[in-house]
């Protein structure tokens, strides 16, 4: 088997033979990513309505559905409405702390079988299996969103304790709640925020995955006919909550 040392040594040997390469540099990274991300947020404190409008347009362009509610509590009837229109009842959601509030009682009162995911990992294998079966059987998945990228209509979700990967993946209908602190205008700005998350690194209890979600799952593999929901959700609903969580 090739070892790391052999592998890298061969690369170095070949690199040593190159002649006359053009000058080239990688992209300029923000020197202080956290400050740069803060600066973007400050700018957007005024411009966010335009960014939100562009996000809505782009999300709808890729087949997503946009809603706007004044407070988190008012998201519950929207979620229940989505479920009712589709004849769906079973909902799984991120843990209340990761969404910014507990919608489960309100959703249950509106006739849904709503279950929140546990706030952290689960030691019992049997319990993990039960939870997976629950998620696999659920029709609706309710999550938050860490970023909403206006340029592309993209929701960015970080995994972590209380934010399992499958909530936005296995159910047919994904519903994401976000507020204006999540808005960025462009992929480049999203890049700055990603760099700042990485700079925060060890101080947070992040999960291993960051997912960019741009509309519902799609394929055109059969005769180039656009078909939705091949593996992931066939619908994506983004609910904008005007009152930022905790603010």
């Amino acid at each position: 088997m090739t070892t790391r040392a052999e592998f890298i040594a061969r690369i170095r040997a070949e690199m040593g033979k190159t002649r006359g390469l053009p000058p080239a540099a990688p992209a300029r990274r923000p020197e202080r990513p956290r400050a740069a991300a803060e600066a973007i947020r400050r700018e957007l404190a005024e411009r966010w309505p335009e960014a939100l409008e562009r996000f809505r347009r782009e999300l709808e362009q890729v087949g997503g559905v946009f809603y706007r509610v004044p407070t988190l509590a008012e998201a519950a009837p929207v979620v229940a409405g989505i479920a009712r229109d589709r004849g769906a009842r079973r909902l799984v959601g991120w843990h209340a702390a990761e969404i910014g509030g507990d919608l489960v009682p309100a959703l249950a009162a509106l006739g849904l079988e709503a279950v929140s995911m546990p706030p952290g990992e689960v030691a019992s294998a049997a319990e993990r299996r039960r939870l997976r079966e629950l998620v696999a059987a659920a029709e609706l998945g309710l999550t938050g969103a860490d970023l909403a990228i206006a340029e592309t209509g993209t929701l960015v979700l970080r995994t972590g304790p209380g934010r399992p990967r499958s909530t936005s993946l296995l159910p047919s209908y994904h519903i994401a709640l976000f507020d204006r602190t999540a808005l960025v205008e462009s992929l480049a700005q999203a890049g700055v925020v990603l760099e700042s998350w990485h700079a925060d690194g060890q101080s947070r209890r992040d999960g291993a995955v960051i997912s960019f979600i741009t509309g519902p799952s799609r394929t055109a593999d059969i005769e180039l006919t656009l078909t939705r929901g091949v593996h992931g959700p066939k619908e994506v609903h983004a609910i904008f909550v005007e009152a930022p969580a905790g603010g």
Partner: protein, 472 residues
């Protein structure tokens, strides 16, 4: 023809493809559609041209310090609890993955679309070891059921009709289904959902890997990449060494142009950034994460004539615009990677001998270089490959002699002039409607091409007369 059968010569494979009426129609529809979508995506994106330049520069900058970036990637993946493996050859890559699969006790391996695993023929090796590989990209799933190979980098099953797919599903899955994309997709969703939940091993490629963070990045539209990296207990990612990028900031530059070039989307539906195995506090995610770094001919090109091909993002844009690909489709090329870039990658992986015919399967029109998001000068490298194939005497002797004679003639003006006059006389029996439609000894060449006739008065003759005229 639906299979890459290299036992027959390229020319016959291409012939068969061109006689396949359905394939011709499918190719035209698909490539035309992709071209239009790509054009629209960039038309509404004025910063695109600058980002393409930036992306190209990042690729070059990364290759110039590839050792450093790979070491950084390795250290970060290991810090996060992942394991890194080094594969010089396809055999070695297969052995590494089989070993991981055996230790995981895997019986089923779910895969998301990966050209790197196609390249190392992983599925055959898994099957031989008693592990069932399941391709989960819908197009790949279809061709796996049909025991075929992908015909397009991003649309692997464009050569099949919905009717053929319905018959295939009925035969292979024992379920009757209407020849309707919606119904077919729903059936595949159900079948594959069960596999995702059952599989012990998830195998992916990597569109990018970020050195600074140890992140493997997967771009999919269906969501299978997320399934494969979330549900099985073990995740193995296989990547060519050239896929590393320095930072997340660099990554965003590529994301901004990749989907636009491939499918005309602003962004693919899912971009999944995977940083090692499941973390403490996470409910789900693989317990083990393995990264297999693959050489397979790439490292030798760092200082080789095909270096620039290492920039390739595998978007497929050069296939769609290539007049040759549009005629013959992916299978006729006979190797894992089709199209203009595929010829270069085949030479990289298998040596120039593998492309002695393919090196000529290009009109050198340059459409590929224009469409390439990182502006790879594919025609330049194709010409160099042709020269290499000639110099190493890989090309057939007839071809080498003809070109040698022609080259000799071109450097001798008097003889060239004489040859033009002789040619003008000799061509008479063969000229029809101002062109030579067939020529003895050159039948293979003129079968699909017309040769322009030697002009009644050549440019040189007219020039000489002009010079003789008194100056005004």
């Amino acid at each position: 023809m639906s299979q890459a059968d290299r036992s027959i010569p390229f020319r016959q494979r291409a012939d068969r493809a061109m006689q396949d009426v359905f394939l011709q129609e499918a190719l035209t529809i698909a490539t035309t559609k992709f071209i239009g979508l790509r054009r629209e995506a960039f038309a509404g994106f004025p910063e695109g041209e600058g980002l393409r330049d930036a992306a190209r520069e990042i690729k070059e900058a990364t290759l110039q310090h590839l050792d450093r970036y790979l070491e950084q990637l390795v250290e970060n993946v290991e810090r996060l609890g992942g394991r890194v493996h080094y594969a010089t050859t396809p055999e070695e890559a297969r052995a590494i993955i089989l070993d991981i699969a055996r230790q995981a006790g895997a019986r089923i391996a779910v895969k998301s679309k990966s050209m790197a695993t196609e390249e190392i023929h992983l599925n055959e090796a898994l099957e031989a070891a008693g592990i069932t590989p399941v391709e989960t990209d819908l197009g790949e799933y279809i061709i796996q059921l049909a025991h075929e190979r992908p015909s397009h980098i991003i649309a692997p099953a464009i050569h099949k009709t919905k009717g053929q797919i319905a018959d295939l599903f009925t035969k292979e899955l024992g379920r009757t289904v209407a020849a309707d994309p919606e119904a077919l997709t729903k059936l595949a969703r159900g079948e594959l959902r069960a596999k995702f939940l059952e599989a012990d091993l998830g195998i992916t490629g990597a569109n990018f890997a970020v050195a600074d963070t140890g992140t493997v990045v997967l771009v999919t539209n269906e969501g299978n990449g997320r399934m494969v990296t979330s549900l099985p207990r073990v995740h193995v990612a296989v990547m060519g060494v050239e896929k590393v990028v320095p930072s997340l900031t660099d990554l965003m530059v590529f994301l901004a142009i990749l989907a636009k070039s491939a499918t005309g989307q602003k962004l693919s539906v899912y971009t999944t950034l995977v940083q090692g195995p499941r973390r403490a506090g996470e409910l789900e995610g693989p317990e083990e994460f393995h990264l297999v770094l693959l050489d397979n001919g790439r490292i030798a090109q760092l200082a080789g004539p095909l270096r620039e091909a290492l920039y390739c993002l595998r978007c497929g844009a050069c296939l769609n615009v290539c007049p040759v690909y549009r005629q013959i489709g992916g299978h006729a090329y006979g190797h894992t990677y089709p199209g203009p870039i595929g010829i270069l990658l085949t030479a990289m992986l298998n040596g120039p001998g593998a492309v002695k015919d393919l090196a000529h399967a290009s009109s050198l029109c340059g459409a590929c270089a224009d469409a390439c998001p990182v502006r790879i000068d594919i025609p330049r490298m194709l010409i160099e490959l042709r020269r290499e194939v000639d110099e190493k005497r890989i090309a057939p002797w007839t071809e080498r002699i003809v070109f040698k004679a022609f080259g000799w003639l071109l450097t001798r003006p008097a003889l060239y002039r004489l040859a033009a006059s002789v040619g003008r006389l000799l061509q008479r029996p063969f000229v029809r409607d101002g062109a030579i439609r067939s020529l003895p000894l050159f039948g293979d060449w003129t079968r699909t091409r017309d040769l322009p006739m030697v002009a009644r008065r050549t440019f040189r003759e007219r020039w000489r007369n002009l010079e003789l005229e008194p100056r005004r």
